[in-house]
């Protein structure tokens, strides 16, 4: 494996709410290597977004994060705002799910882009403008020149998402975290943005973390995937292994409920019955147990993440033994 760039270890994210504590992320481990393209998948509510927001210190006010997020020799969770600001937006870029609300309504697109260069590179004026145009071109923005002087509301959703991507790319980050970058867009625009990501990762050496609940977009873009359930990585491995031989019953269920994949990989699989767990009151032991048809007595203990062959691994007492798997 290539050397690690960003390592998440035992990450916990909790929210204080009026109805008690919500445990959104519960001991997540994930290692992101240099230039690696990794998909983080899981049903909505499985803690994907909050985990990576926590890495960048972007949790809502009522949230708190514990554990380790190692970047070089630093733990991002313990950094001061000031220190963190030298990393986010510069070495780690993030693109969010909803481009309609992710840009400041009263600032022109050009300003929202060039302030990134100003803060991290001290670039202003024509130099900054040049760089903005270059990146807008790279994300295939139509009429980039014109966009710089427009306000976000004058742009379509697809164009706004291109602005967001451009913003994240301005300083040539080492990691780009894209949180459901196409979910809020029209189907045709979705395909265009995905194609753009594909080209970007081929042209550049940056690592890509693609967060998605849609397994259909993973193949062809990412080489590795991590499957999250109830705020934990329950299976990880190469995309090919995961899709052909899932070791965790939840992964198998996810694949089964993705029509595009069913066609691609034959094997009809059952969809997942039941509901995602209540994050204020997680079941003891395996969080998937109430929905798992392979559960045994031992599943009342929390399963450890077990390495299997070829860098695949799963947090299941019966990994690879219940019928699916490596």
């Amino acid at each position: 494996m290539s050397s690690s760039l960003l390592t998440i270890e035992g990450l916990q994210v909790r929210f204080e709410t009026a109805d008690g504590e919500v445990s959104a992320v519960n001991g997540m481990d994930l290692d992101i290597g240099q230039g690696e393209r990794i998909a983080v998948v899981g049903e909505s509510g499985s803690g994907k977004s909050q985990a990576f927001l926590a890495c960048l210190g972007l949790l809502a006010r009522n949230g708190s994060a514990h554990g380790q997020v190692r970047w070089q020799d630093l733990n991002l969770l313990e950094l001061s705002q000031q220190k963190l600001n030298t990393i986010r937006g510069r070495h780690i870029g993030m693109v969010f799910q909803d481009p309609m609300t992710a840009l400041t309504p009263h600032l022109k697109v050009g300003r929202q882009l060039n302030e990134v260069l100003e803060i991290h590179r001290g670039q202003t004026g024509t130099l900054a403008r040049q760089r903005c145009l270059e990146v807008l071109d790279q994300v295939r923005m139509p009429d980039p020149d014109k966009r710089l002087d427009q306000y976000p509301h004058e742009l379509s959703g697809g164009m706004r998402q291109r602005v967001m991507i451009a913003m994240a790319l301005l300083c040539e980050p080492k990691v780009l975290i894209a949180d459901e970058p196409t979910t809020a867009l029209d189907v045709t625009i979705q395909a265009e943005i995905l194609a753009l990501f594909k080209d970007l990762v081929e042209q550049q050496s940056m690592a890509l973390v693609l967060i998605t609940h849609d397994l259909g977009v993973v193949a062809g873009l990412c080489e590795r995937a991590a499957v999250m359930y109830a705020g934990r990585v329950v299976e990880a491995g190469s995309v090919a292994d995961l899709f052909t031989a899932p070791a965790h019953p939840y992964t198998a269920g996810l694949i089964g409920s993705t029509p595009k994949l069913k066609q691609a990989y034959g094997e009809p699989m059952p969809t997942i019955p039941g509901q995602p767990p209540n994050l204020s009151n997680l079941p003891v032991g395996c969080a998937f147990r109430p929905r798992c048809r392979y559960g045994i007595e031992r599943c009342a203990e929390r399963p450890k993440f077990k390495p299997l062959a070829d860098g695949q691994g799963a947090a299941c007492h019966r990994a690879g033994e219940w019928g699916g798997g490596a």
Binding site: F96, E115, I119
Partner: protein
């Protein structure tokens, strides 16, 4: 923009006309008349007076007279302040009320907005709770309690400031009434700012700004502040119109020759022309200030279009 402003002003004329009409008839429908309290008035003199003011004519005819005078900019003579026209009364008092009101509003803005922002940034801290408790009290305690207290403490007991009088708007004469007038506005604006700032700080675009690695100071001043001011601006339109049209309580307590008293006195005395005058004046102010608010709003938020 100018085009828009002119259209808005023209569009307000029907509104104004309806207000004028309603006020004209409502005040005349109220029991009693302008000369009722002066019981000693011999009947023939009262008849003469009524004739002089056209009060002996049918209401519709009076209405016609009033409108045609109004069209010429003539608000008519006051029924009670016998030697003055309504226009004279308003133009005498308005500079006082305006000076007092604008100063109080500026003070309220310059104190309320920073206070509210600060509380929002320190949400749920002790500072936040103190500011909000004081603001709550500020809104709840009425002027007629605060004004005499201030007057008593700083005017009489400590003797630092004059107790009453206008003295051409000298600073020393402004301080106490402006303080009393601005306190509830400071409190309200602080609360408004705090609430909207907290909301804006939770938006996705503020999260984006933070994800870029901008210092928190820049996030707030560049990305959050304008949006957080929008509710304050909306409040400011009608509030400014209200505050510069005078406060009866403050003007009475500090003995200031503003127009606040005309609203109440005019109505109590059934001084028909004076009531009409101040109502039209106040309505015009509200219309103008709402227009200003809309223009400022469009400047703060480019999504707002002039239609």
């Amino acid at each position: 923009m100018l085009n828009y402003a002119v259209r808005r002003i023209l569009g307000a004329i029907p509104t104004l006309f309806i207000i004028i009409t309603l006020t004209f008839f409502l005040i005349r429908l109220a029991p009693g008349g302008p000369f009722d309290q002066e019981q000693t008035l011999p009947p023939e003199i009262e008849a003469n007076l009524k004739a002089a003011y056209h009060l002996d004519k049918p209401m519709l005819v009076q209405y016609g007279y009033y409108l045609s005078n109004l069209a010429r900019g003539d608000f008519g003579p006051s029924f009670k302040f016998k030697d003055f026209t309504v226009t004279q009364l308003i133009w005498q008092g308005f500079p006082v009320s305006m000076r007092l009101g604008l100063t109080a509003m500026l003070v309220a803005l310059f104190v309320g907005i920073p206070l509210g922002s600060y509380a929002a940034l320190r949400q749920n801290s002790r500072v936040d709770y103190s500011v909000m408790t004081v603001a709550m009290v500020g809104v709840a305690i009425p002027n007629f309690v605060v004004a005499p207290l201030l007057s008593l403490i700083f005017g009489i007991y400590l003797g630092w400031l004059p107790v009453a009088g206008w003295n051409d708007g000298a600073l020393s004469h402004l301080i106490l009434p402006v303080t009393a007038l601005s306190l509830p506005y400071i409190a309200y604006i602080a609360r408004l700012t705090r609430g909207s700032m907290i909301e804006v700080l939770g938006t996705n675009y503020v999260r984006t700004a933070r994800a870029k690695g901008l210092p928190e100071r820049t996030v707030i001043t560049r990305h959050a502040f304008k949006a957080a001011l929008l509710p304050v601006v909306s409040f400011l339109g009608p509030a400014t119109a209200r505050i510069i049209s005078g406060s009866l309580v403050i003007e009475q307590i500090f003995g200031l020759p503003g127009i606040g008293r005309y609203f109440v006195q005019g109505a109590l005395n059934r001084d028909y022309t004076l009531v009409m005058g101040v109502v039209i004046f106040y309505a015009t102010l509200i219309i103008l200030f709402n227009l200003v608010v809309d223009l400022v709003y469009a400047w703060l938020d480019p999504r707002v279009q002039y239609e």
